[in-house]
């Protein structure tokens, strides 16, 4: 063993207490950093996996006329540009080599009209339920009622939106063919007791591409939950494609739709007795675009023919799952080039861009976690630097003597670096290992949450922080950086010690 290392090693042992304190800080620091890295990592992969698998696919195709890219989380309420000829495009899309499977759908921003006049806004997803469930691996859990059946019209209200409807309207959404279950209802609902109103259908108002508003009255078929990230994805309710098209007025833009525009057909059904109960006086307080509907009441349509919808084939978004192991960003550029080349009027947008603000929440979460890790990092550096500096000062006469009898500065530097490196190797290494074990432990615990923020932190419903080789490498790198940064000042001090410091003066 080189003499520098020998002295360093024995010095650590000689100053056991101090070594232990520094070691403990190093251990704790790298422990926390490892867990932080693991959580960030898990958040990343979890979010990606859960959103891609349950909600967005790897990418979406939308009309090339679509300008805003956050097509699944538009805050402006602009309706997506329709894709009118999906049936023609379908074979061409499926011909693109990297694409595995696709799901045409409608995504839009709608108003929920209700008796007390407070308009709610939310996202609506129109799908063919069977294809949808297959495409997203049965991502829905039925809380109450049932899922839509093939060609059945109606809406699947997410638990999140049910809560929200209740907060705004004081009425509790219950699927048709079921009754209100007092026992299972949440506390805030129970409080209302017998005066509680229930609601089995919902009126959605969409903005068509021509900005004409169209309302649909839909029966609530089921209350559902997304298997993962319900608190985020639950902004969406799911309707059958026909209802969605009506809501968005897509039939109007099509030739065949003209035949459908028979007015005043079965205007009101089910629970609503008259138009007046739907739009009572309080509605006047609502903004212009909503009051407009009041005048256009005769335009409310309820069309039952679903065969026509199929022919029309109007959608506004196509979810795409890619074949395994293709690079997302590269593939998107490839697909976009191909679409242009073949004159297909579509554009590909990555899931990440499409979900917009949902992703940004995650970024914020990640950012604050990162800041936390950085904070620990800096605190560790300061404490270690302080302790090491003090230790250096205490050894001034000893080091001065070594300098006097012929030890070069470089030797002293190596000796100090060896001391901190040894410490960090042992204790920091232990911290990383402990952190990794804790992460594995957390993974095995399968902690799950329905809390909104925690779900984002977890990257899903279950807490599954992960460490791969890269993030372990990152931990080691961070640890080395701590060692280097916290050694710089003490080593600078040690190098400044002169032979003269060996001499006793009285």
């Amino acid at each position: 063993m080189p003499i520098e290392l020998k002295i360093a090693w024995r010095n650590l042992y000689r100053h056991k207490g101090k070594s232990f304190v520094i070691g403990l800080i190093l251990c704790l620091g790298s422990f926390i950093m490892t867990i932080g890295n693991g959580v960030i990592n898990g958040l990343d992969t979890g979010l990606q996996k859960n959103i891609v698998n349950n909600f967005s696919g790897d990418l979406v195709l939308v009309s090339d006329k679509q300008i805003e890219k956050t097509v699944l989380a538009s805050m402006t309420g602009h309706t997506l540009k329709p894709i009118t000829n999906f049936t023609e495009l379908k074979p061409q899309i499926l011909n693109i080599p990297s694409i595995d499977k696709i799901l045409p759908a409608g995504a839009g921003y709608v108003w929920v009209l209700n008796e007390n006049g407070n308009p709610l806004d939310q996202y609506l997803l129109g799908v063919d339920i069977e294809s949808y469930l297959e495409f997203f691996n049965n991502n829905l859990i039925v809380e109450k009622g049932s899922l839509l059946k093939k060609n059945q019209r109606g809406v699947l209200v997410s638990t999140r939106m049910r809560d929200w409807y209740f907060d705004f309207t004081d009425s509790w959404t219950v699927p048709i063919n079921t009754s209100f279950d007092q026992e299972k209802a949440p506390e805030k609902v129970k409080k209302n007791g017998s005066s509680l109103q229930t609601k089995k259908s919902i009126v959605y108002m969409g903005l068509s591409s021509k900005n004409a508003s169209l309302d649909i009255l839909t029966d609530v078929i089921g209350i559902v939950k997304f298997k993962e990230l319900n608190s985020i994805l639950g902004f969406y309710c799911i309707v059958d494609m026909s209802s969605f098209r009506e809501c968005m007025g897509y039939f109007e833009s099509s030739d065949e739709a003209v035949h459908l525009s028979t007015k005043n057909q079965n205007l009101m059904t089910s629970s609503l007795d008259s138009i007046d109960t739907l739009f009572n006086d309080s509605f006047d307080t609502v903004n212009e675009s909503t009051t407009k509907i009041k005048n256009d009441l005769s335009d409310i349509k309820h069309i039952k023919t679903s065969q026509l919808d199929k022919k029309l084939g109007t959608y506004n978004i196509i979810f795409v799952k890619l074949k395994k192991d293709v690079n997302l960003n590269k593939t998107i550029t490839q697909i976009n080039n191909l679409l242009k080349e073949k004159n297909i009027p579509l554009q590909a947008i990555s899931w990440n861009d499409a979900i917009g603000m949902f992703g940004q929440i995650a970024m914020l979460m990640k950012g604050s976690l990162f800041l936390f890790v950085l904070f620990i990092f800096i605190v560790a550096i300061i404490i270690i630097m302080n302790t090491l500096s003090m230790a250096t000062m205490e050894r001034i006469p000893e080091i001065g003597m070594m300098r006097a009898i012929g030890t070069k500065k470089r030797f002293i530097q190596t000796m100090f670096l060896a001391e901190t490196s040894l410490l960090s190797f042992v204790f920091g290494g232990a911290g990383i290992i402990l952190g990794s074990i804790t992460i594995i432990g957390f993974k095995l615990l399968k902690l799950s949450t329905s809390h909104e923020m925690l779900q984002i932190l977890y990257g899903g419903d279950t807490f599954s922080p992960t460490l791969d080789f890269i993030s372990v490498g990152l931990c080691v790198l961070q640890l080395s950086l701590i060692v280097c940064l916290s050694s710089i000042y003490p080593i600078y001090l040690a190098r400044k010690i002169t032979p003269l410091d060996s001499v006793l003066r009285n």
Partner: protein
């Protein structure tokens, strides 16, 4: 031939606005193989003088020659090598490396020299230990030794590199007079047998009698004998 030659050496310390003239116009030659003492009361400048000779402090003016080398223009690394190869130090407070045992402490400067093989280093260290009669404490750490034993180890460490000169600043000040005398006798012995040049300081007349020649210093000035 002079191992050390000082010409017109001045050393000033600045304490705020006041200046302490620690050494005033010192001219001095130390001959090879001599066993000399610097004598003077406390504060007279003995330590300062030894520091300047030992290249661990710089004079304010004047020239220092060690073994023919003008030291003023040397870099820190060159000075360090000069000390390692040409000068041995014995300190008042012994100053051993606490985490190394006796043998390792004596081997330490040889390791720094990067000149000898492992076996040579071991052999030189063992020989030196025999010369200072510390063989029995070979594996002990400095904290397990008495003051006299520690100073023996320090002497061994200073001499093991075969330096041109060994400087010892009050080597017996932390020892009782009996042990001090033994240490001085040992030094004198080594001076005889190994022809090593010694220069030590003391304010103790008892110790002075071992010296072949003495330099008296008072208020930073030498009164030649």
């Amino acid at each position: 031939m002079a191992i050390v030659e000082l010409k017109n050496i001045n050393k000033d310390y600045y304490l705020g606005k006041t200046v302490v003239h620690a050494l005033k116009n010192i001219n001095l030659k130390i001959e090879k193989g001599s066993f000399s003492a610097i004598v003077g009361p406390s504060g007279s400048g003995k330590t300062t003088l030894l520091n300047v000779i030992g290249c661990i402090d710089k004079s304010s003016s004047g020239s220092v020659q060690i073994h023919g080398n003008q030291i003023d223009s040397l870099t820190d690394n060159q000075l360090t090598e000069l000390r390692l190869f040409n000068i041995g130090f014995i300190f008042q407070s012994f100053h051993l490396i606490p985490v190394l045992n006796v043998l390792e402490n004596i081997e330490f400067p040889l390791l720094l020299m990067n000149k000898y093989s492992k076996q040579e280093i071991r052999q030189k260290a063992l020989d030196m230990m025999k010369s200072v009669h510390i063989m029995d404490q070979k594996d002990h750490r400095p904290s397990e030794l008495s003051g006299g034993q520690r100073q023996r180890v320090a002497i061994a460490r200073a001499l093991v590199t075969d330096p041109e000169i060994v400087l010892a600043d009050e080597p017996t000040a932390n020892l009782d007079s009996e042990t001090g005398a033994i240490i001085l006798k040992l030094m004198k012995d080594l001076n005889k047998t190994r022809k090593t040049t010694f220069l030590f300081s003391t304010h103790d007349p008892e110790i002075l009698k071992y010296a072949d020649s003495s330099i008296t210093i008072r208020d930073g000035q030498i009164n030649a004998n």
